[in-house]
């Protein structure tokens, strides 16, 4: 056995260890030289197309520079990585690499590429393409957003080629995520991108207007047509490297069509009218509308339980000494008091939010890890029910008192009044803020809800720090705590309540820093879990974020779509697009 982390996970979950997957699954078919990956999904039928809607036009088709969701959604249908996290099992499985070994000290990964693979333009893949791809991701001048994930112990991962199908990745120190490291790094065709890279124009390469024949990947589909403002059409990649049990090469679908439908409501209407086949990222209310007509209209909606998104309220705990924001600095005297934050938390009616905002399709939350993330959630966290009495007690103990008309005043006699910013485009969070406003009114606090345009909101939180409190949500990428390093490290750019600190401002933030660094290099899952459990406990005790709820992932698909298995991880519905097929009528 080669992979310690994987073995632990397997033992823990009794999930199949993929390294040990049966020989038969990987035996070559069709052409003897080509090592296709066989999967176990239901055997489907060829033909047909799948139409899905995109919220906005992808900004780019370039995997090295993509940051927005629509881009990712399209690009990952055309690209593949070496080792892939199965979105359904949340475990790693072989992809372009058919096998890998890790050295006993955890510093060296040796990957073997699948033999005989071709890019979607027919050009063969070899180790040089992998070297080239990682060169791009690691090049500081390219500014790939994924670059940080390849820096371990302050040093970039070194990639070497042993032969045309074997690669060695060397790390400066052990890396807790193990083979998950390779997920999310699309392998790119050197023959198409080398020129742009050497000319320094890689960031501009592969835009939406690039001719389709100049774009190639290793994913199930390839670009066929782009109609500005309307749609993107992908066609079947005839060289794709997966096949079903019978050896039929995937994908089954002839085409994948992305329609640009700019609002959720419009997406819902298009799905209801039968213009699109699959829908995801919809809110509970729209889900209820669609659910009511599912029999008549021939589609099925499903609620697949809590996702990885967590929503929370946080106060401005930045050091504002250097900034001229005296009004906010004065209010920070309250925000910095643990009792104040705990009282706010105790007064919030999380069940009310679940009911009013999500119609029951959400889970109340007391820690940053959603119950949907079973691997990492700390089950021991206290889940105190709402208690206004406890909230009042906490406030009284901190020197707050009430005027005759019920208004809360601090020890200096100032009326407790602050604003909660939320994103105007996110109706749920604005509604949550309105509920919190009403909850806190019962403590005598006067709260204003300020819906702001999302980018303006982020600019206030991350740059100007000109806000008092804010309701936001984050989603941890694949559920692993590593994805949230930039949130929990006090120096992290997304350490929302006080981002980018030079030195941890509090002792508990310093402890979180130590624990997060520890889990980064710990190699056993049990050890990492123990450390991350402690992080969750510290966060729950100190309430820098007051966690609210985690919404369920709600999806729908037309009846007759085979192998449709929505997952709680991102690209909820299309992660196994190669397996999807239309059942015969």
């Amino acid at each position: 056995m080669t992979n310690c982390l994987l073995r632990d996970l397997a033992a823990l979950l009794a999930a199949a260890a993929l390294w040990a997957s049966p020989e038969s699954l990987q035996k070559p078919v069709e052409k003897p030289r080509e090592e296709l990956l066989l999967n176990n999904a239901e055997i489907g039928r060829y033909g047909g197309q799948l139409v899905v809607s995109l919220r906005s036009e992808p900004k780019t088709l370039n995997p090295v520079t993509m940051t927005d969701n629509p881009s990712k959604e399209v690009i990952w249908r055309m690209m593949a990585d070496l080792v892939h996290i199965n979105r359904f099992t949340q475990q790693t499985e072989p992809a372009l690499a058919k096998s890998w070994k890790v050295s006993p000290d955890g510093l060296r990964y040796t990957l073997k590429l699948r033999r005989g693979l071709r890019f979607s333009d027919g050009h063969p893949l070899d180790a040089d393409d992998v070297l080239f791809s990682f060169q791009l991701y690691l090049d500081e001048k390219v500014h790939a957003p994924q670059r940080d994930l390849l820096i371990v112990g302050g040093k970039p991962i070194a990639v070497r080629k042993l032969d045309s199908e074997t690669l060695v990745f060397e790390l400066a120190q052990p890396y807790g995520v193990g083979d998950r490291l390779f997920d999310g790094f699309a392998i790119l065709p050197r023959h198409l991108l080398q020129k742009a890279y050497s000319e320094g124009t890689l960031a501009q390469a592969w835009s939406l207007t690039t001719p389709p024949e100049q774009i190639a990947g290793l994913g199930p589909f390839r670009l066929k047509q782009y109609v500005p403002g309307q749609r993107l059409v992908l066609e079947r990649n005839p060289y794709y490297w997966k096949a079903d049990r019978k050896g039929n090469r995937l994908p089954y679908l002839d085409a994948l069509v992305f329609l640009i439908v700019p609002s959720e409501d419009a997406q819902v209407i298009r799905f209801q009218a039968g213009d699109t086949d699959v829908i995801s990222r919809l809110n509970a209310e729209n889900y209820a509308v669609l659910e009511r007509q599912q029999q008549a209209r021939g589609y099925t909606m499903s609620d697949i339980g809590p996702g990885l998104e967590y929503n929370f309220l946080f106060f401005n705990l930045n050091d504002l000494a250097a900034r001229s924001l005296p009004q906010i600095a004065r209010k920070q005297a309250w925000f910095r008091q643990l009792n104040f934050r705990q009282a706010v938390s105790a007064a919030i009616d999380r069940e009310g939010i679940v009911r009013l905002v999500y119609q029951g399709r959400a889970e109340a939350l007391w820690g940053q890890v959603s119950p949907g993330n079973k691997l990492w959630a700390n089950q021991a966290l206290p889940r105190p029910p709402r208690s206004l009495d406890r909230a009042r007690e906490l406030l009284r103990a901190a020197g707050f008192s009430w005027k005759a008309d019920g208004t809360l005043v601090d020890a200096g006699g100032d009326v407790v009044e602050f604003s909660i910013a939320s994103s105007a485009s996110n109706a749920e969070r604005t509604k949550m803020a309105a509920i919190i406003q009403d909850d806190l009114k019962q403590l005598g606090m006067s709260v204003h809800v300020v819906p702001l345009e999302f980018r303006a909101l982020l600019a206030r939180v991350l740059d100007s720090r000109d806000y008092e409190a804010c309701v936001l949500g984050l989603a941890s990428g694949d559920g692993d705590p590593n994805g949230d390093m930039n949130v929990w490290l006090s120096s992290g750019p997304q350490h929302l309540w006080n981002p980018g600190q030079a030195q941890p401002a509090t002792s508990w933030e310093a402890e979180i820093d130590r624990l997060m660094q520890g889990q980064l290099t710990a190699r056993k899952y049990s050890e990492r879990k123990r450390l991350y459990d402690r992080v969750q406990q510290i966060v729950a005790e100190n309430q820098p974020m007051i966690f609210l709820i985690s919404p369920h992932v709600l999806v729908g698909a037309k009846n007759g779509l085979g192998n449709f298995r929505p997952a709680v991880l991102d690209h909820y519905t299309l992660w196994n697009v190669e397996e999807l097929f239309w059942r015969g009528k």
Binding site: A288, A434, Q437, V449, V450
Partner: protein, 343 residues
Amino acid sequence: MRRRKKLALIISLLAGLHAVVLGAGFFAPYDAAAQKRELPFAPPMRLHFLDERGNFHLRPFVYPVVPRRGSYTGYQEDRSRAFPMRFFVTGAPYSVAGLFRARLHLFGADPPAEVFLFGTDGFGRDLFSRMLYGGQISLLAGLLAAGLSLALGLVLGAVAGFYGGWADETLMRGAELFLALPWLYLLFAIRAFLPLQIGPAQAFLLLIVVIGLIGWARPARLVRGVVLSARERDYVRAAKGFGATDIYLLRRHVLPQTFGVLLTQAAILVPQYILAEVTLSFLGLGVGEPVPSWGNMLASLQQYYVLASYWWMFLPGFALVPFFLGYSALANALHERVKAVLI
């Protein structure tokens, strides 16, 4: 004489409507911001006169609504308990125009039952109460903004008409500029420049000032026209010949002539400005939660699910109808009267 009666009727009707809105605290059974979290989007309740056995009751009664089992949006009447409507009940405290405080409400039901005549919104707040309270904001905005516009229009129009010359030229060209402005975009632009974190009261005042300041051009032009003809009348010239000051002339002879026009303008502008407030609040530029206004109550209709599922959320829109009809009838009646007086 008939004309006069008609005018009186219209005015008393409008006054009645305004009184209901002003006394929202009394006519509304609940506080506009009170959330009943177990009952989001509850449909309007039925008032029953016949009970289960078919007996007629003079006093209407309600059955409490309870969520249908396993559903967050489906409701049914709990027929096991009937609650008669009560009149002149004590309930949530309120104040009328900030003058006096009271707890007396026109109607209600014995706790734990509640009467939601128009259903509830997404927070379980009584839509009927919110509609009445929302009218306070919308009507007040309309009236104050119209007052502001008219005052500005009167002053500027009188100056332009009375003095003529460069003052007239400047003011009237300015008025044309204001008439040509795409006011909705202008409002967006102004709102974008102002601080975002403002309370409901400030947002409200801002709204009035912005709407009122933009609309001065039309009344100013009308006033100017009247002043222009009035200052050439023989008795005005005579008064001037006797050495009357400009202020005296304006006050005594000229401005009284404009009042008919101004009143008619007021009757036209008020509903127009109510609609402006509704539009702005609908687009999120007006007063914020939890303070209701007709515009921000209708704003939830921007969401497809509300449109598709909860028809009663349209009801605040219908509140506008009697007011608009009343004001336009008033404008017509005034216009006729002014014509009759002038002829």
